[in-house]
């Protein structure tokens, strides 16, 4: 076994690089995380659940989940459409449109929040049209979903796009020669092929939306039970001087993060197998 390891490490630097990687991760991630877990464990299960299962916190998790899910689903729809249009059609401004898709990724979320809050506010360019319809653009769940959609859009487009690019159009042509119409070809041939990447994109967008804080801070208004999202509960606890509450909720969110990460890995593994 020793020999085996030795021979595998033909290239030098194993100890150095792995050591540095682990050291870095320890300082940045593992030690702070264990400090938090340790402090959280100090409050016992009772204290933990009291904060985690507080009705207001539960309402916030629900909103986080539902709004992120909604945003991710809407992005699946528009993101796939965008990917399709960008890959399959040539039209003036295509490259620009392609570049614009990355804007939410590059734009700091605070800026996105500030701008969206202004745009969808009652006096904003979009908000003033929504108000007469009785839709509040900000300080509403609508606003939360819009902001989450904004920040997570690139994930769907950029996951579906490469798959669509490598998709062999011969397959579609084959379907056409067999008499399938365009719609049938799309739904029976193209969509099933894209499905794994769409699901991956959905999962990534969902995870991104679930963790979002910056833009929401500007648009949600943090109305308890209505527009408060999970990270805001945490901020609320910090603001209220309830460090224990903040730590309990942070731990809970951390656990959820790990679960989501695990699920995404599973989905990706599955998608890869499916594609092969």
């Amino acid at each position: 076994m020793k020999q085996y390891c030795k021979t595998r490490r033909l290239l030098p630097g194993f100890r150095l690089t792995l050591g540095f990687t682990l050291f870095y991760l320890s300082v940045v991630v593992l030690i702070p995380m264990s400090a938090m877990i340790l402090r959280g464990s100090g409050m016992g299960w009772g204290g933990f659940w009291k904060y985690v299962l507080d009705p207001r916190a539960i309402a916030a998790y629900k909103l986080s989940l539902v709004a992120s899910m909604t945003a991710a689903l809407l992005n699946v729809l528009f993101g796939t459409l965008l990917a399709w249009v960008l890959v399959r059609y040539t039209f003036p401004g295509r490259r620009l449109m392609d570049a614009l898709v990355d804007v939410p990724f590059a734009l700091p979320t605070a800026v996105a929040g500030l701008t969206l809050g202004n745009l969808y506010g009652p006096q904003g360019w979009i908000g003033q049209w929504l108000a007469p319809m009785g839709i509040a653009g900000v300080n509403s769940r609508f606003g939360v979903v819009i902001a989450l959609m904004f920040v997570s859009l690139p994930f769907v487009v950029r996951t579906v796009q490469p798959v669509l690019e490598t998709f062999e159009q011969e397959v579609e042509e084959a379907a056409a020669t067999l008499g399938a119409g365009r719609w049938r070809t799309f739904f029976r041939v193209v969509l099933p092929t894209l499905l794994p990447s769409i699901i991956t994109g959905f999962a990534l967008a969902f995870a991104r939306a679930l963790g979002e804080f910056g833009s929401i801070q500007f648009v949600s208004g943090s109305i308890p039970f209505r527009t408060e999202i999970a990270p805001q509960i945490l901020i609320q606890h910090l603001d209220e001087h309830e460090t224990a509450g903040a730590i309990a909720v942070a731990l809970f969110l951390l656990i959820i993060s790990f679960l989501i990460l695990g699920t995404i890995n599973l989905i990706e593994t599955w998608a890869r197998r499916f594609q092969n």
Binding site: A136, S222, F225, D239
Partner: protein
Amino acid sequence: MTWIMARIVRAGLFGSLLLGAMFGISCTDPQRVSLLNVSFDPTREFFGEINAAFQKNWTATNATTLRIQQSHGGSAKQARAVIDGLDADVVTLALGHDIDRIAAETGILPRDWQQRLPNRSTPYTSTVVFMVRKGNPKRILNWPDLVRSGVQVITPNPKSSGGARWNYLAAYGWARRQPGGDDRSAREFVARIFRNVPVLDSGARGATVTFLQRGIGDVLLTWESEAHQALSHAEGLSGEIVTPSESIVAEPPVAVIDRNARKHGVLPLAECYLRFLYTEEAQMIAARHHFRPQLENAAMKAGVHFPPIVRFSLAEICGDWQAAHAAHFATGGWFDQIQSQRKP
């Protein structure tokens, strides 16, 4: 080619590390004294002016340069930051309770801090007023108007905002002081107001932004000082201030954080800074920012007119902060109960 490139990359990496190290080292100048004032949200402009005035006095008598740093945020949050290591030399927060907590949890200042300066360490006060839309379309004139259906009230979250606690207690106090009013009726009144609150910002500033810039709500509960401040600064946005018949005396106290100030060698300076707040010059600045000065004729001298209002104190309606906090704002307190009733 690559040999050169490798060298460049290497040099670049080390260079940027070095640069980073240089940036990281803050310049310590012995000729420069600095003081950190950790304050709450609506005092930004006020302390901007106070600091300028204090600095002017300072440079007149000292060779060293003085730099006063300001940190603003929700009052409770600022207190927590100080507890968790924010190196404040003085704190000027929205309510005594927050400073009490610093004293209780860390011991970096004595528990009897409030006895060290005049007027229970409160150089100026304020009161809670209403801000309404231009022309007061909903005709909101006094507290009972806030519970009418169809009136949206904007106030920050009392759990995080010191200002909002005064808002809450003003409403509570008004109802309690009504004929036949008692704790129960007052609680019910507050609950009815909060049923009309569509947004709970975490700080006073956030609430003002919500009301003025985002145009949400019909009436904003805010400090008198903050209302004037907002109206004079909010560009192109307008509102009107309505002063109710009665309101609370909002007392934002100040304190030196002894241990930090001693550590930084600025203890006398910090004390001097806070005492400066009681001088006529500072009291006039306070009046100009619509904080009600403790010095009697400072307002007149500053040419600021404060509308008459009957003001009651915290002590009159629920004793001290300890009691108020336990009854209303602690986890599971009345405010939490109101919130869970709101649950749809």
